[in-house]
């Protein structure tokens, strides 16, 4: 996966698989300190310390643990190679938070890619989850908690053409206004 937005999608899918009912994703580009940080937090079933170690080990993560693939160890290697890191904080029954950081200007840093498309995919594809998105470049912030949208829709599907058009615009414009 050659863009960070696809990794974000992958990690957020793990959050959904872990039964998270609320998932927060924040992407912060801090040009002053030359950092790019991504945080994905959920209130899913969580993992014990042993499991956290296992999901970060490319040689032990096996195909039988179906909800975790090779995505995380590869992303960690990419982050470490760019003077950053990937850290997972997790507690059984509480949830999991994954933090990834990069040196923003590092020549090997993957591009962020299409963040708006990743968020749309999550919002439309897993409407049972409460999604909170935060995208920030220095002092410019785009923040969206989808509860308000769901209240307005009141059971109408996100994938009705007219509804989808409005939501797509909302997210695209929001992300574009910041970046």
């Amino acid at each position: 996966m050659r863009e960070l937005s696809l990794h974000i999608l992958d990690i957020a899918e793990n959050s959904v698989s872990a039964g998270g009912s609320r998932v927060e994703i924040s992407v912060i580009e801090d040009m002053v300190n030359d950092r790019l940080s991504i945080v994905i937090g959920d209130n899913g079933k969580g993992m014990d310390t042993e499991t956290v170690k296992r999901v970060l080990d490319p040689f032990v993560t096996s195909r039988t643990t179906r909800n975790v693939g090779l995505g995380l160890p590869l992303l960690k290697a990419a982050a470490v190679g760019c003077n950053g890191d990937l850290i997972i904080e997790s507690e059984p029954g509480v949830g999991t938070t994954t933090k990834v950081t990069f040196q923003h200007s590092h020549i090997d840093r993957m591009p962020l890619g299409d963040l708006a498309e990743t968020w749309l995919t999550l919002l439309l594809g897993s409407p049972e989850v409460n999604w909170v998105f935060h995208y920030q470049v220095d002092d410019e912030i785009f923040f969206i908690d989808d509860l308000e949208i769901k209240r307005e829709l009141d059971g109408i599907s996100f994938t009705e053409p007219g509804v989808m058009r409005i939501i797509r615009e909302l997210i695209r414009d929001g992300v574009d206004s910041v970046s």
Binding site: L124, G125, I144, E152, T159, V163
Partner: protein, 122 residues
Amino acid sequence: MPTIKSLEDLKRLREEAQRVRKLKVNEGKTEIVVSMGTVGIAAGARETLKAILNFIEAHNLQNTIVKQTGNLGIEGQDPLVQITLPGAEKILYGKVHPSFVDQLMQEHVCEGKVIADKVFNP
């Protein structure tokens, strides 16, 4: 921090929701599920989903629900897409790349014709 870009967006959303609600008289729904495990994403499932959503929007397909699911455990067939027409059996398609989406949506979803040679049979 603003939760939503502007009050105007919420208003538009409310009006659209009301409009859709009026149209609905318990019609059957078509369900489309895209497999989004790590392998699926790496194989391009996000772009496949995007193409599906674009088709729905462009052709104004109502009553179609698009969902995502985790890895289906089927090797080498991603991106996988499952289509269930109202009252019909689930049909699973393998290797649904964006270039195949328009044909799939047009023939299966709109016209109800199964594209036999693309169906994945375990």
